[in-house]
Symmetry: D2
Subunit: 308 residues, 4 copies
Amino acid sequence: MPVQLDNHLLEEILAQVRPLIGQGQVADYIPALAEVQADKLGIAVCTVDGDLFTAGDAQERFSIQSISKVLSLVLAMGRYEEAEIWQRVGKEPSGQPFNSLVQLELEQGKPRNPFINAGALVVCDMLQTRLSAPRQRMLEVVRQLADQPDLAYDARIAKSEFEHSARNAAIAWLMKSFGNFDNDVITVLQNYFHYCALKMSCAELAKTFLFLANQGQTLQHDEPLITPQQTRQINALMVTSGMYDGAGEFAYRVGMPGKSGVGGGIIAIVPHEMSIAVWCPELDASGNSLAGTAALEILAKRIGRSIF
Amino acid sequence: MPVQLDNHLLEEILAQVRPLIGQGQVADYIPALAEVQADKLGIAVCTVDGDLFTAGDAQERFSIQSISKVLSLVLAMGRYEEAEIWQRVGKEPSGQPFNSLVQLELEQGKPRNPFINAGALVVCDMLQTRLSAPRQRMLEVVRQLADQPDLAYDARIAKSEFEHSARNAAIAWLMKSFGNFDNDVITVLQNYFHYCALKMSCAELAKTFLFLANQGQTLQHDEPLITPQQTRQINALMVTSGMYDGAGEFAYRVGMPGKSGVGGGIIAIVPHEMSIAVWCPELDASGNSLAGTAALEILAKRIGRSIF
Amino acid sequence: MPVQLDNHLLEEILAQVRPLIGQGQVADYIPALAEVQADKLGIAVCTVDGDLFTAGDAQERFSIQSISKVLSLVLAMGRYEEAEIWQRVGKEPSGQPFNSLVQLELEQGKPRNPFINAGALVVCDMLQTRLSAPRQRMLEVVRQLADQPDLAYDARIAKSEFEHSARNAAIAWLMKSFGNFDNDVITVLQNYFHYCALKMSCAELAKTFLFLANQGQTLQHDEPLITPQQTRQINALMVTSGMYDGAGEFAYRVGMPGKSGVGGGIIAIVPHEMSIAVWCPELDASGNSLAGTAALEILAKRIGRSIF
Amino acid sequence: MPVQLDNHLLEEILAQVRPLIGQGQVADYIPALAEVQADKLGIAVCTVDGDLFTAGDAQERFSIQSISKVLSLVLAMGRYEEAEIWQRVGKEPSGQPFNSLVQLELEQGKPRNPFINAGALVVCDMLQTRLSAPRQRMLEVVRQLADQPDLAYDARIAKSEFEHSARNAAIAWLMKSFGNFDNDVITVLQNYFHYCALKMSCAELAKTFLFLANQGQTLQHDEPLITPQQTRQINALMVTSGMYDGAGEFAYRVGMPGKSGVGGGIIAIVPHEMSIAVWCPELDASGNSLAGTAALEILAKRIGRSIF
């Protein structure tokens, strides 16, 4: 029997998953991520009616990392025709780790989807072509969506990412060799790493991504950010490709469109109802927040929500 | 503005997609499939209230092929613990053609999911272990679900598949070499090909798969076929892996869990509402019915249904 | 300064490499191979003048395994036109483990060379087509070449190989799916495993393969077994593909055409001068006899022989 | 019956292979290479006694491209311990196209051998670490070996290569991501492309590479350039990996260590006797000079030379 959504329920769920802390692995490929406290745990739910429920460290900001890939796709959707986007990046799950070059070479430099590194880099390359100040523009968008004018990039993380960017540079150059990368590699990598280095809290993330539960409509604007159809399309891409090589497992267990980041954050969507953000830094073998996924699984069961 | 579902709407939709016939390719790897008339086109929708709407060749039987993979998984779910199944087959999309051995070798003989050939063969291997007459049992199940006591295997197609079974034999033997295949290869292949050679009409398919739209409950039985949670799990697997290497595109365009077969059939589910079956033999590059997918896309838009 | 070849030199070399025993791994994929004594060590050299030098366990028979792949190719070369052979199997090193299916699938069922399992299976398939009794014929050939009428297959090993043949069956079926395998899979596998299960001693191997050092001419016949050009071709294939994924290392260290088997035997050729056979069951990471390779490396240096 | 080597024989051979011109493909990935006259054809042979025989366009300089990979390895062998080199690059044939990233990723950034692009880039990276002026040093070496003080890089080709360097940049960055690349990517790429852009004639190449036929001894110096053992090692690597993915075919047909470049040049070695250089710009499917390979095959037969 589904229960009512409130702060108390969220606290109960966090208590239930907290024992999982210690079973995962904090991302440590850059020092700035490795030093995050492993026992952080937060959750926030924003409903289409504008209610916000939170528990735990829901107000503490963390590095959103690959969750930003959804935002860059949204920006691109507003500046490119549908066909222009999908001729440069696919819509299929990769069946591979998120940063592999194997498939990218076999498929002639066309990334499988916009939520793996290669795909997000292509999207950033597209933004670089059409936006005069892509980093500033992203900030404006998230500040509005989250209703927080002080949202900012963590310059130290962005710098650290850039200093460890060899693999992503290889990916970008490989796409360039196939003619699927137009701008200067370093410039685009810098943008990409800044997007990844956005710091946001669960509460801010839930508010920011509410439009995906609301047919593209934000709470702040009269004009929708994207169309209802584009909203469904993004949700579809999140279900099939949003959780690295763990999308199938996430759909099976949680049953919602979701996108995770190696900072330990996940956003999930209940279409027409709510957006959910969780944060717990330790990751499972696929690179998704271990306790975060468990919290979403329990929440889905408790409130009786699933797209399936 | 969503419209009402009725036979007339379905006829309209078929008229709209009929011009696509000629742009795809009928499966021709066995003669028995190649000789199907390319301009067959049918659709059937069954609602949880028991209403059935149809148009076109909805009463004509065809070879359901890989659609049967969902049914074998359902049978296995009733006979094995959850963990027993998923230690032998994964839940992730493959990012590869449906009959590739590359990934299967790299991943030590554990197929990516139960809807690619390797995965379905493992499931059939499991059924062979626990069922005394796996072919007869499958027939009983579909005859009940479709309420058609004369449903049968097309022996000629099963025989023809078996005579062209080298690739599937290679897959089975490769899994055996990794210890993930228990029974005699030929026996299991025979069962597998018979399941693929089931002949059903769109109307029968829609009725058969209604339980996936109805939390596992069939119209014919008091007892549910599977639990509500298992129902959500199967729908989740269909979204991420049900359409070969075109699952992302199908989710993006249609927005429903679906499973296709190279005979040109597709079943799709609107959870809590209806099951849909389409049939048009010509396939797109991913092996999914070209006009069938288009019909589902239009239907989804017209009736305003999408899980996203 | 090169030294004279004699039994004493060979004994010295064996003493030098004996300490390596313990650093490798005896092949254990079938019990019959696993139970071989790990400290067996033998060497035999046969010169084109007919001299035979030996040391250690040079008279003890062991399972020649993949060394037989050279013999099946020789048989095929006598029964097929050059072009007929090389349209079905390539001449290039594989850059892969000896029993991988990955490359075989990507390259449409045409094995890279006749000395990996897939390639040898194709050659056996060709022999099955043209020989009425392929197993008997092979025995006749090696009995004559080794001048030992009692050479025989080890039926127990052949049976054991067949019982563990899943991987090779997968390879054969995969080639069949691409139209590159004509005969019954089980029949050809049985022949293949019998060839592998030939038991020969170092002394017998050195004598048997002398024709590769002697422009195709055997010591026993007036007629050459193969032409001088075919001899050069086989030696070339052994250099580039004879040592599994360790051919480069072997050429770099030893500098002779060679072919190894997982039984721990290696044959090596000094063109125009001598054939050499070593045996020591423990294998290195590439599957080649560890102490055997070392013995060949030292021998090459001591007698100042290298094709480079 | 082998014939005497002289200019007349070489002219005969060129006449015999000239009809093959038109069946290959001039490398066209950069304009500077594409504009070479396709009907250039030259050959030069240098014996260890110092005799030089030539025919055709043997005095015309062309871009030596990957032939330079042997020279960079020679330079590295003089500046690094054997183990230092081979822990960063392997000795095995790749079984892949020369510029693939697939294998490089699977094998953790360690290139298969020093004669594919990745391997040569690692070698150039090593030279950059130990040489103060790697480009100048290479020039000094080849000028001495060829006895031609005016040998130079073709700056236009080097520049053009650099402008089309995306694939090689991807390779270098991928190795950097695995910790197998120490210096600035652009600096090393520039050196690498300059080495490739060396312009030399067949006569100059034959003289330059004579040391590989002469146990490391050059005609110009008292001190050998490399040791006899290093000479054998390089010849071994050329046989197993010198002809891209056509090494097996080249060994089978020609039977000599060889290294080719996409400029259409090939050098080949008859140990203890002679070095041979051929040039004809059209390439076969593996990227080796089509008529050049044919000329070497005929020459080998006519003079009765083969390492096998």
